[in-house]
């Protein structure tokens, strides 16, 4: 959740929602997938919903200042990053925010959560080849965004 939202307080609120949702719907769990997969699916769905809400809020904020000032997301430093990788990871997380939803989900589940492609396919209810393609495209897009960033900040 933290990898998706990149805001510790918001991630905690969503994590709370995820557990409440699990509690409410555990009776509907049909054992079609593993319990872990099911929980990951709820967490991914909730996180993506929240990202959409934030995006809408920013959009309305930019059009109608009445709804609130448009705030730029602060740089995110994941607590599990090695000290020597801090600067690079901040740039990468900023680029990850530009990825389309499904590419971002697949990339985060693989890189941050360490899930296999089979597990990601199960969480995202898709095929392994689709996941492979999503991760491939995510990396291509990240390279493109990072190239733009480093070209602009070359001086």
């Amino acid at each position: 959740v933290l990898g998706f939202l990149q805001q510790p307080q918001e991630a905690e609120d969503i994590a709370q929602d995820v557990f409440v949702r699990i509690y409410q719907s555990i009776k509907d769990f049909r054992h079609e997938s593993g319990l872990g997969t099911w929980i990951y699916r709820i967490a991914v769905t909730k996180s993506l919903d929240q990202l959409r809400k934030n995006k809408r809020r920013r959009m309305y904020g930019s059009i109608f200042p009445f709804f609130g000032k448009e705030e730029e997301q602060p740089d995110f430093l994941h607590p599990g990053i090695k000290a020597e990788q801090k600067e690079n990871s901040i740039v990468l997380f900023r680029a990850m925010n530009k990825l389309p939803e499904n590419q971002k989900a697949a990339f985060i589940l693989q890189k941050l959560e360490g899930l296999s492609q089979e597990e990601i396919a199960s969480v995202m209810k898709t095929t392994v080849s689709s996941v492979e393609s999503l991760i491939q495209r995510a990396k291509q897009n990240l390279r493109k965004y990072l190239k733009e960033y480093y070209t602009q900040n070359e001086q």
Binding site: A15, F19, I81, R143
Partner: protein, 92 residues
């Protein structure tokens, strides 16, 4: 360092990342919200019953009003049809 190396360094910066742990307060927060949910579940169903009754009452009211309006409309329509000499010619 050229840009390509910087890009690859950025992409591999999250390799071997450690899982973020939740704050110690998260567990108690979750517990509190789950505890709050239980007594509310009974009240929620009564709210639902109240809303359903209200919707049913409004439906009955709307249907009754609508059928009255239809009658008035058809009377008005007959008057307008008579004024403009619009008769049903299908009988001839």
């Amino acid at each position: 360092m050229n840009n390509n190396k910087k890009i690859e360094a950025a992409i591999s910066s999250i390799d071997g990342i450690e899982r973020a742990s939740a704050t110690p307060f998260l567990y108690s927060k979750i517990r509190n919200s789950l505890e709050k949910m239980s007594p509310d579940s009974g009240r929620f169903s009564w709210n639902l019953v109240f809303v359903l009754l209200l919707v049913a009452a409004l439906n009955v009211f709307t249907l009754t009003s609508f059928s009255g309006t239809k009658q008035i409309k058809s009377e008005k329509a007959a008057v307008v049809a008579g004024d403009y000499e619009m008769y049903d010619t299908s009988e001839y």
